[in-house]
């Protein structure tokens, strides 16, 4: 086995072009489990942890650019105010030791339907910035997940960063698992309200072959909030709206039965999480007005 340790991003891209089958390793929290259990024996490992610039984030025009090496711990420490949904999801990942190593890009690389970063990234309309020696490609997050544990990266591409706008409204994340620490989600749900554009982001994990947006639910809620003038009035939500939103989120799912839960349970849990997070987010939105007026 070869172990490549590029010191710069250009070297990493050149190495990936030369060895398209090289397996990138960042935090190793997915890759090493596979190697330890002999599930994979890559001929070439490509270590990305020496490239300092990857571990940084920075503002990038209207968006934030989160480098591929940014860990969950770093994201929670630095960006909880600007990316509350992603930070909430990050707090539920593994344990402190896992969050100290695991990266958002690694979550994208694995593209597990249960990855916790996916629902907030979908709800935020994030963009994956992929690089290769051929150039730069911006992949909209909705086009990134192509199948169970498969993504849209070409063999010679590496994730350089994720681009996501900072929150312009309340965000929420909820996850159902079997215990508090170290749970792979049974289902997870992320919600982002965007008052600026009058749109809604709603997405779930572990309830379809890929993480997925609940498009009908998003459109329904955005239309309802506009038609009733609630983006401006911030009036209490109609309970029927909340119920319908939950039902539409559940309808978007196509879950399976597995050891972590049945399909029926997942669908039910999703509608409950969607309703709850909507109420929390709306309460937050109403409270913010009080604060700005005062």
């Amino acid at each position: 086995m070869e172990f490549l340790r590029p010191a710069t991003w250009d070297e990493a891209l050149a190495a990936k072009a030369e060895h398209p089958d090289a397996l990138p390793i960042a935090g190793g929290t997915d890759v090493m489990v596979e190697i330890n259990f002999d599930a994979t024996r890559p001929d070439v490992l490509l270590d990305l942890t020496r490239i300092d610039e990857l571990a940084d984030w920075s503002p990038d025009g209207e968006r934030l650019r989160i480098g591929a090496g940014v860990t969950y711990s770093r994201l929670i420490a630095d960006l909880a105010d600007r990316l509350p949904g992603l930070a909430m999801a990050s707090r539920t990942v593994g344990s402190p030791q896992i969050r100290n190593r695991g990266t958002i890009a690694g979550n994208l690389g694995s593209a597990s339907p249960a990855g916790d970063a996916h629902p907030p990234l979908l709800a935020d309309d994030a963009v994956v910035e992929a690089h290769s020696t051929r150039g730069v490609r911006h992949i909209p997050i909705t086009e990134f997940y192509t199948g169970v544990k498969r993504n849209a990266l070409a063999k010679d591409e590496l994730i350089a960063a994720v681009l996501t706008p900072p929150a312009d409204g309340p965000q929420q994340f909820a996850k159902i698992g079997t215990r508090n620490a170290m749970v792979i989600s049974v289902t997870a749900f992320g919600l982002a309200l965007h008052p600026g554009t009058g749109t809604v982001g709603a997405a779930f994990g572990s309830a379809a072959p890929t993480p997925r947006r609940a498009t009908h639910a998003e459109e329904f809620l955005a239309a309802e909030l506009s038609a009733t003038g609630r983006w401006d009035s911030r009036a209490e939500l109609d309970p029927a709206t909340v119920t319908r939103f939950g039902a539409l989120v559940a309808e978007a799912a196509s879950p399976i039965d597995d050891v972590r839960g049945t399909a029926d349970y997942r669908t039910h849990a999703l509608s409950v999480m969607a309703r709850r997070t909507l109420v929390w987010a709306w309460t937050d939105y109403r409270r913010k007005r009080v604060r700005t007026c005062a």
Partner: protein, 154 residues
């Protein structure tokens, strides 16, 4: 493969760089303090500092530790005096079979560096990645509280 472990330079040959740092520490450097119980990041018994950050050594590729600074449980004590965190675990009866202890010691050491007087929820959160099958967590919580007090009195 070269790195620093507990302040001493280490150089080992014949490492398969895809093997875990845990394996390299235990089997190649003669440092069996960090324990191997799950090899999948679930139990925390292999917790070590990597460049000052607590991580599961079983999930770090040996090749990733090249030129890095590693501190294991063996590096916590002074010459012949236990670290207050170690003493507190003994005094509180938080050690039974001891398998989980090295990882808990490193995780507790880190917690008290960041937060010298942690609340109970902070302790639980900091140790959420460390499993113990024997003692029950009450004694472990006691030990962390005692360690915090002992460190404050130093």
């Amino acid at each position: 493969m070269k790195c620093t472990v507990n302040g001493r330079p280490q150089e080992i040959d014949d490492v398969w760089e895809g093997e875990s740092l845990l394996y390299a520490l235990r089997e190649r450097m003669g440092l069996p303090g960090s324990k191997n119980a799950c090899e999948q990041g679930e139990c925390g018994s292999c917790t070590v500092y990597l460049d000052g950050t607590p991580v599961c050594a079983c999930l770090v590729a040996a090749g990733q530790a090249q030129d890095r600074d590693v501190v294991t449980v063996e590096g916590l004590a002074d010459e012949d005096e236990l670290h207050p965190v170690q003493q507190a675990f003994l005094d509180a009866g938080a050690v039974q079979c001891g398998f989980c202890t090295p990882g808990l010691l490193v995780a507790t050491h880190d917690l008290l560096e960041r937060q010298p007087q942690p609340s109970d929820p902070e302790i639980r959160e900091a140790l959420a990645g460390n499993l113990c099958r024997c003692t029950g967590y009450e004694k472990i919580l006691d030990a962390v509280r005692q360690a915090a007090t002992a460190k404050a009195e130093q």
